[in-house]
Symmetry: C2
Subunit: 222 residues, 2 copies
DNA sequence: CGCCGCATCATCCTTAAGTCGAATGCGACC
DNA sequence: GGTCGCATTCGACTTAAGGATGATGCGGCG
């Protein structure tokens, strides 16, 4: 089998209908494409662990089990070699920009036409990056947030995992158990995270992380 | 001077124009009313400390120095005797409901007519509670959040202050310094907070508190 | 007045958190 | 191959966090 011709995709979206449609659309792009589906973040995770390298993951930002960008950040950390294209109903420039900053290879608004999507996916498969045209990717975010995003992207895969568990309020001991390492190791990771984020305690770290997730959308509360 | 006839108000809003208009509107309600203004939360705070009992505070939810409901919660904790009426551009039922749960005496959407506002303020001054008509105050919020709101409202004034400082990532030592009490006292408060919120660590406490502030508005991010 | 809730503080103890130094392993680069 | 950097791992040590107990003062309330 010619491996260069057989692409392997994952479509991760909690909406089965949309998943199916997307599968149809991209499946016909290449005759020999192998398309996997994941309905939740856990599915996606075990799929990637089981199946090994993928050529592309199409990820819905609003998947069950993920709040916002964490999923993307986590994926990029855990499987640095797998390109991720975000598929989202939201097309605010700020969201798109943030996704690209977190290492996405592309951003597909769900409102896009099938033909455009195909072109975009082709671009990414060839190693490129695709974002919607007529979108202003520059500026917009406040300096503090931008700084924090930069800091977050310096975290190593394991550190991202630890930070996400910190944000769930877990103890070092619990994190150690989950990751199957010693508590000393977790502490080392936490220390590194604190340094990289420029904060002084785990509590401040989760506050900083929470800011990224919820912080700066056009505030709906007042 | 007849104290029962001289009402003392505070108008707290960061928008000077609106503050002025509101002052005009309520000032003429009673000939002898004394109206104070505050452009920021710190102003409001020092004003209340300096001037003592007020008959009413008109508080904008989106004031500088306050994120969301903390301001209300804090005011109600620090000055339990002063009725607070929220004035907000936002009129989502969820927000209104939350305000009332946190002890507001009324909620005035900024879109309200002057005459209606006057009636509402009169109602509150007579010890009543006023919310916009044709608003569904029941249901809506998920059980978890409602539970948490209930727990938060059992916190004592000082505990609210401590919780807000926890949410800023301060150490017990720093909180002790700010509040001019010993670290032992802070620890006592923290322990009480953890119990009341039903969590096990300061980090989980700030996560819980953050959920209330940003958590469950109709999600704008995707 | 006595009771109770709130706030304050101390002491002792256990556990969690965080820092420091250091070892290992792995991939990149010369 | 050797070396450099980096991620991951870990143990020892220091400091912070949190629980338990007990105690004091103060203001409201039946």
């Amino acid at each position: 089998m010619d491996s260069s011709a057989t692409y392997r995709f994952v479509i991760a979206d909690d909406h089965p209908l949309f998943r199916g449609a997307l599968k149809e659309a991209v499946g016909k792009l290449f005759g020999t494409a192998e398309v996997f589906e994941a309905g939740g973040f856990d599915d996606l995770q075990s799929l990637l662990e089981r199946e090994g390298d993928m050529d592309l993951v199409l990820l819905d930002l609003a998947m069950p089990g993920v709040r916002g960008f964490s999923g993307l950040l986590y994926l990029r950390a855990q499987f640095p070699g797998v390109p991720v294209v975000i598929v989202s109903a939201n097309e605010e420039p700020g969201v798109i920009r943030r996704c690209m900053e977190f290492g996405a290879s592309g951003f597909l608004p769900k409102t896009l036409g099938v033909d455009v999507m195909r072109g975009a996916i082709r671009t990414v498969l060839e190693g490129g990056v695709w974002t919607p045209p007529d979108i202003d990717l520059s500026g917009g975010t406040d300096a503090e947030t931008r700084d924090l995003v930069g800091r977050l992207s310096t975290l190593t895969p394991q550190q991202v995992r630890v930070l996400m568990m910190l944000s769930e309020g877990l103890l070092n001991k619990q994190i150690a158990y989950e990751l199957k390492v010693s508590e000393a190791t977790v502490k080392a990771h936490v220390s590194a995270i604190l340094q990289k984020l420029g904060v002084e305690s785990r509590t401040q770290a989760v506050i900083a992380a929470a800011k990224i997730e919820a912080g700066q959308w056009p505030r709906p509360l007042n």
